[in-house]
Point group: C2
Amino acid sequence: MYKIAIIGYGNLGFHLVNHLSEAGHIITQVFTRDKSKTRISKYKIDFIDDLNLLNSDADVYFIPVKDDALNEVARLLSLRGKIVAHCSASVEMTVLKNSTENFGVFYPLQTFSREVEVDFKNIPILIEGVNKKTISVLKEIASSLSDEVIEVNQQQRLAVHVAAVFANNFSNYLFSVAEEILKKENISYKILLPLIEETVRKVKEHAPSKSQTGPAKREDDKTIQKHLKFLSNKKELKNLYSIITEQIKSKK
Amino acid sequence: MYKIAIIGYGNLGFHLVNHLSEAGHIITQVFTRDKSKTRISKYKIDFIDDLNLLNSDADVYFIPVKDDALNEVARLLSLRGKIVAHCSASVEMTVLKNSTENFGVFYPLQTFSREVEVDFKNIPILIEGVNKKTISVLKEIASSLSDEVIEVNQQQRLAVHVAAVFANNFSNYLFSVAEEILKKENISYKILLPLIEETVRKVKEHAPSKSQTGPAKREDDKTIQKHLKFLSNKKELKNLYSIITEQIKSKK
């Protein structure tokens, strides 16, 4: 059990407060800029809206704030001896080096919505730390939430974030391209849901590199030409189609 | 109940035979090139390996063969008065016009693996037909398998296929890009599965165009630059990252 302060109460902050409490940790304080807008947790929380009110009761300070705000928050924190971790995918941990000698990263690899309950047990948590003590404490806390705790270095964490952008943000963009194409023909994108679910089901069983299908994979140029003709007045999408098709072909 | 012959016994043919039988239809004959290699269905089937042996007992003839084989098969069929439908995503139905006056398309929108049992009830089936009789019979058979039967025209079916390539084949390719990036850092792509599942869960609730997230969407150029630098010695992936990022930005 650790005493933990949470600096930032966005989607991730909100879920951290709840899940860390459930896991038996004590949340000493939660910083949020506008207390009046704060969604109330089921746990009794000491909210503060001024970082000067942050006390030294906690062992560990988490900073789940937007990347842009990290520098500013770090500049205001003086927490010698404490463990301080940000929760960002791609910001160097050294952003915290003036706040404490025990700085690190606590990065849960998931996209959080405030309304949607998450099962932290399955969410990989990536840990980075400047020294053994920091890594050990962050790992212990992560393990109290999740079964998937991974110690990484800066390069690996960046790799995971880039990979996540391809697998999550960019695949969502492809879904929205499909939505756009179907909308023009008065068809709901929802007819694609069983296919999308099957794509994901397969990825759970086999590496995606092994389960590629489609016209590009089988070099079905007749179909590819039909598709490019269909997209001929959507220049951007035609371009995207060509590029991904060429890349799939080149992997054969 | 219809009497149905199935010409082609690949993954789709196999599942059609089983599910049409379960739905109460009678499978009169199944054509497959190599009977010895044929996986036995739990239903007793009259297999033929020569199209000259195809008899006229059936009301409806389905042709679930590869696009390339369709022309050749169609050329060999003379089925005046019968309803004949191919199962292809992007081939014109007129490929069958010399085989019968009642030609059409019966296209289940799903990717089929032989080993994986499918729930046909949720699979959209796209129907196209040259005349009302053909459409009506194909719709009736489709409705006996699925709750999602949609009558389309050639342009709509092509749109659905292009959309499916983006949503299924291309998103799988993005997953394999993620796999490649992580592999180089000795991390399994499986750590992305909870994120991928959450992406899909969201798409079930909200249109993908409404749930775009990530550095491109929030125009977080600092992170984008870090990612491009990370990809600087992977020219193809860097190019793909840039193009999708620009397209997401331009949709704002």
